[in-house]
Point group: C2
Chain length 230, copies 2
Amino acid sequence: MANQRPKAIIFDIIETIFALETVRPELVRLGLQASDLETWFAFGLRDAFTLNATRAVKPFPEILKGALAQLLAKRELDPPVEDRERVFEAMRNMSAHDDAAEALAILRDANLPVYALSNGARASTQSLLDNAGLTHFFTDLLSVESIDQFKPSKPVYDHGVAATGQRAADVMLVATHAWDCHGAKMAGMQAAFVARGQVYPDVMVAPDLTGVELLDVAHSIVNLNAPAER
Amino acid sequence: MANQRPKAIIFDIIETIFALETVRPELVRLGLQASDLETWFAFGLRDAFTLNATRAVKPFPEILKGALAQLLAKRELDPPVEDRERVFEAMRNMSAHDDAAEALAILRDANLPVYALSNGARASTQSLLDNAGLTHFFTDLLSVESIDQFKPSKPVYDHGVAATGQRAADVMLVATHAWDCHGAKMAGMQAAFVARGQVYPDVMVAPDLTGVELLDVAHSIVNLNAPAER
């Protein structure tokens, strides 16, 4: 069956809209390698998913702080707390990807309502979007805080879908993380993968769309056939 | 309340009993950095926990293959399949930590039954223990395969506890992974953390015991007060 155009779009935020690259030099300043950005974030997700699986969720920044402490110890580094804090300051000041505004404008011009759904806190998501001048593109910012679970758990996607007022099959998640696209697919949604050179693993449910950048994904979405009226 | 000596011990296998260090040079041969060992394994756990959360579990080696493909693409490397396979061959030939046999002997001499519970397959766990001459220390090898979930999900620990015939509170998990100790604690078990220089994150439930190496943990366990008879 050919894909049908979704009636609402839910965007992941960290890495999908905002680049973690501003954080990389701060990790190097702590003595870590540039390539440890991926290690740190993977440690953070591993631990977030652990807390999720045991229904013992903590705020994502606290989890990332613990992940940084684990990574620094693994690399036998022990920088002072104030130096570590610069990593999180850089994260609060992430820049949007160059094509984010144009991609969001394409969806707006196609009358597709757009929502944000991050594993981060609502307030920090709001702040990132405000600083980047992107808030006006979003119909609403949805928070995992009200669910007390993280993506890729189904209740989080269900919460996002409910906010759009659409059926899950008519809502598309856009993310640059395979694990997030997989979670959305398992929750009955459509999913678009922003690849940026990444490989999508075979063990996960494939996305409906893959684009190299946000702009490719936005173009692909509006080029899908409109859903049949019910 | 002082800790009481457990009546049975469940060991994690990969990294806890066997060192991943044999894999590190194989990653370097693929063009990755030595420090990418941690990145690769964290990618694998992140993806395993994703599949766990969505009840779409696949065998752990397949997940690790997907994690390696993602990491290689992230580092803009594309080695041939047969070169990648050497990583998994090295993993099948991991060596036990130097103090594993002595630690297991201490527990045996204290009449504490010992079980293995890995997120890996039963067959590969059996093969690792056989090659290392450690099988005779184990009362049984328990498998996540019969549960179709991974640690840190509670049903996996429940399965392990049931096999020991003891109450969860009288069974101790030994692992060098904070996420595994946390999972055991959340399932009502005791947990011992083999630190090996690692930091245990604040966001997780603390273990009952921490030792630098397996031998420290084994000594600490047998030095605990014996549980009261019921």
